[in-house]
Symmetry: C2
Subunit: 585 residues, 2 copies
């Protein structure tokens, strides 16, 4: 096993192999992918489909002198194995040494830490610019999947480079006819026409934008790809190399169900079955809500930018929703403005995506939605520190980034009932743009109000004295625990407040607390800077009230253990109790 | 004068006119445009070029049943005159009744409050979606200029609608061969080829993406445009109507210099001369810096997304910069990632845009630049409440939105020397991504440090007692005034601090202040929520120190008088002194 891969310590070793050995290397890489992915999961389809191309890239070009930029970089695992990092795939003890994305801290062969889509052409065109300013001669190669092409950043960059770069720049478009779910958009009709005509179709979008262009249908054949890349190596102008590959190649189940196998949890290789099973989650609750609401209300419509599973929507459910559902593809900006238009014309749009991806559309939320005060509901999944922990996918910036946009109501539910009631209230009301933070913990049950139209009214869940705990959203359960611990430790009952609104102040309640409280504790699931607690602290700036904010630091945390992080930040119940002892007399 | 325009109170009146009267109406509209623009300024070229098209739109379609969406909406003045708002153009006393953009508060004929580019196709496709869900039959028409097409949001929407909309949707592409400055990008080569071939060129980008398409070269001919629009009215699928028009048509100077006449200040009609003249400004200082630095350092390069004038760069200066300058067109996302690539490869990129437009690229600043910690310098103009006051162009959200991104150093200079030193330090260092806030006030002179590598070190400009004034960036001069007034009023010398870093805390200095101060006053030129002062308040949450933050509320202010706003917010020196009296014993 790994006969050839074992010999590869750098790209120079790839160049020594003969054709047969290269084929064995491809098989070894797939075995190594199986080893890692069956055990710890990761991006499956993108890596299985690109093995041959990345072998050819390292065979033909000279990385790190020649520079590779991988879009999203969720397809860079073969590249990693070929650049000194095979142990992260073949040795279980080394899995953690390798992130699931390119990472300059791991290797000089990785240029950027990337995890969001559609950035490669733009980043690479910057490398081209600097090379030309410095008089360098190296090749710059961007590898981008068809799904990533629909993102505005990629399109802006293709437009720019097609006319404004006049030197070496190679963009490999890896066309596997799939985004995360199906591809959506007119440009995919063009890719299809180009595939079917072997690159000769009329109205070639790339050529229209000034690019030179070649097509290769056998993107999974190493020798073919070597020839293709040798042909474009050292080219003196920008060129698109459009290649046809098979997503998930080498695993029948993945070839047949490309959406399910874009990314995987640990699974059994024989059956493809996940080693985990899931019960009710906020995601499944969301899907149930969507299906019921759509049946009852024909003006209700759902939008996801390429991530239907983030709303729990299977292919079957999407079919059931019919015209009441749009996957707009990777196009978050359009998704938000589209929702604003729907709301303006009396529809009831619900846009669902991840906290990390809504970042791509700050301006659309602010301008297209909030200035116009159109009643769009934006539901965010993976909002918690206790969710995605890759530095490029953190949900912990959502409150800080979006809660300070005027007119936007940001709701932080604390239980299943409150979540559903808030969602339903938001979808049905017409007065506000609303962002709902899907809790990151397990669903819990507690009665909740149905009406949230009195904006910024906090809910006092337990009236007490001396200390008031304001526990936001999915940190409410931590607040409950803390309140109980305070009562046990100090012998008085503290006040416990569920703020519900993540970006406003219940000034009447806060003022009232001054009567018989000396300390406010805020707990929030996100960074402190720009968040909820700092607003509370500022409110009490001239008061005798002490305020202590608990939350995350402004930092790009990467692949951390969530509970360890809280401990490090002094946020465990025990640590907070110790703090309180120093403050409360 | 205004013989025909005077009779127009709604689109119904346009439909009654014969061909000759329509021509007179066009002339009347241009006269009315001259009346307003010579006296109060505004968008010139876009409106003069679109007169005939908007007359034809109202002649053929039935607004507000049929729905018009204007991209940027800086070309909507003729539309406004035809929908009951002519007094805003012909009666000087009524100028203020009309904003320079579409505004639903003004008229039911305006669907959105818009001021940023590239949003119309997406917003309009939402109107289409809601119409179809509700079973409506109206036409939906988006009007977008060629310059706006390069923005990611527009491209995402064109991709979506070209395949996923299967009902009436008309997108008029107003091709006047100009963005704000020249157009940049491969798609403009395609528009040129389409113009030159009267719409028949090979590789039609719109057709490639699934759109039906027609071309009309006489976009400034009313009868032609009426025929074209009658042909597409009630069409059952999406179509691009590509029209050729002349930007600035009807004013020779504007026809000849399209960049200078995109937007104008009040001017003399005979000569075209502006009624204002400008001396040294932070913008002119910036242009001088750029030209000198570029000469000395061949790795220094400047990027503007379509707004060279925001960096003070005239056409001549840009030519002088040569390869050390890229106007990437309206493509802010690409601009930022491009800069990140340049920095990664050892170039020294300076990206210049307005505070309001950097909003379009939150994710790129966070992911492409800051996670990678690449030393990009982003310089923002119009960062002040005392700058652009249209609701869509406010600079007051910049600190709140961007200062909470990890790794980003945000610098707020307080004088000409400090501005230049910060800019130069930032461009030359390689440790941090940096955002520099160009001051919104007049340049003042004061000695300043050259080295800012000790991040988050505030500068104590005056050591005093009892009260410490932390006056950020271009509010420093207000801080000076306030400190003097405090000394005069109370007889003690307060401390005056120039924080310099807008998003960090000098914890040592802040702790030290506790020794002999009881009140901290923060002054900042932006909204308070998520900003500088709230971090200070949170820092002192457990201390006896009182903190009072002065800044703007989280609100979409619109066309306000800046000084009146400060007064309303209680931020004048006198008002703050009155506050201090209540606090300081």
């Amino acid at each position: 096993m790994y006969d050839i891969l074992n010999k590869i310590n750098s790209p120079a070793d790839v160049k020594k192999l003969n054709a047969q050995e290269l084929e064995i290397l491809a098989a070894d890489i797939r075995e190594a992918l199986f080893n890692r992915l069956t055990k710890i999961g990761g991006h499956f389809g993108p890596n299985f489909g690109i093995v041959e191309t990345e072998i050819a890239m390292h065979y033909v070009f000279n990385s790190p002198k020649d520079k590779f930029v991988f879009d999203v970089s969720h397809q860079s695992y073969p590249h990693k194995m070929l650049t000194g990092r095979k142990l992260g795939y073949i040795d279980d003890a080394c899995f953690k040494e390798d992130s699931g994305y390119t990472n300059p801290d791991e290797s000089e062969h990785d240029l950027f830490n990337v995890g969001h889509t559609s950035t490669s052409v733009s980043l690479a065109s910057g490398l081209v610019k600097a090379r030309d300013l410095k008089g360098g001669q190296e090749n710059v190669i961007a590898l981008i999947g068809d799904g990533s092409l629909s993102g505005g950043e990629a399109l802006e960059a293709l437009d720019f480079a097609g006319s404004d770069i006049h030197s070496n720049f190679i963009v490999i478009v890896n066309d596997n006819q799939q985004s995360i779910a199906e591809v959506h958009g007119g440009l995919y009709q063009n890719l299809k026409a180009l595939r079917e005509s072997k690159g000769t179709a009329a109205n070639n979008f790339f050529k229209a934008w000034g690019w030179d262009y070649i097509y290769e249908e056998n993107g999974n054949d190493i020798q073919t790809m070597i020839k293709v890349l040798q042909r474009v190596k050292d080219i003196d102008h920008p060129i698109i190399v459009h290649i046809n590959t098979q997503k998930g190649k080498g695993y029948k189940l993945a070839e047949e169900n490309r959406e399910a196998w874009h990314w995987c949890l640990p699974f059994e290789r024989e059956t493809g079955k996940s080693k985990f099973s899931f019960g009710e989650s906020y995601t499944s609750i969301t899907a149930d809500y969507i299906l019921n609401k759509a049946k009852q209300d024909k003006e209700f419509t759902v939008i996801t930018p390429a991530m239907p599973m983030t709303a729990g929507l299977s292919q079957e459910m999407r079919a059931q929703l019919g015209a009441q559902y749009d996957d707009v593809g990777i196009a978050e900006e359009h998704a938000v403005a589209f929702a604003s238009g729907i709301a303006k014309a009396g529809g009831k749009p619900l846009l669902v995506t991840n906290s990390t991806f809504i970042q791509r559309t700050y301006d659309q939320v602010s301008q297209d939605v909030c200035i116009n005060n159109n009643p769009v509901t934006i539901l965010l999944n993976f909002t918690s520190f206790d969710g995605l922990t890759d530095v490029t996918h953190l949900g912990i910036f959502g409150i800080s980034a979006f809660s300070n946009i005027p007119n936007l109501v940001m709701l932080a539910p604390t239980s299943k009932e409150e979540y559903l009631n808030m969602l339903d209230w938001s979808v049905n009301q017409t007065a506000h743009p609303v962002m709902v933070l899907m809790p990151g913990n397990e669903p819990t049950s507690r009665p909740a109000d149905r009406d949230y139209s009195k904006i910024n009214t906090f809910k006092m869940e337990q009236a007490g004295e001396k200390v008031a705990v304001l526990a936001l959203g999915d940190f409410y359960q931590r607040g409950e625990k803390l309140a109980a611990a305070i009562e046990k430790e100090f012998g008085f009952k503290p006040t416990l407040i569920n703020p519900r609104f993540a970006n406003g102040l219940d000034e009447a309640m806060l003022t009232d607390l001054e009567k018989n409280h000396q300390l406010i504790i805020t707990l929030e699931d996100g960074i402190l800077d720009g968040g909820f607690g700092q607003k509370i602290a500022a409110f009490y700036g001239l008061s005798a009230m002490k305020v202590k904010n608990y939350g995350l630091k402004r930092e790009f945390y990467d692949r951390y253990n969530p509970e360890e992080l809280l401990n490090k930040l002094g946020m465990t119940t025990e640590q907070i109790i110790a703090d309180v002892k120093k403050i409360v007399k």
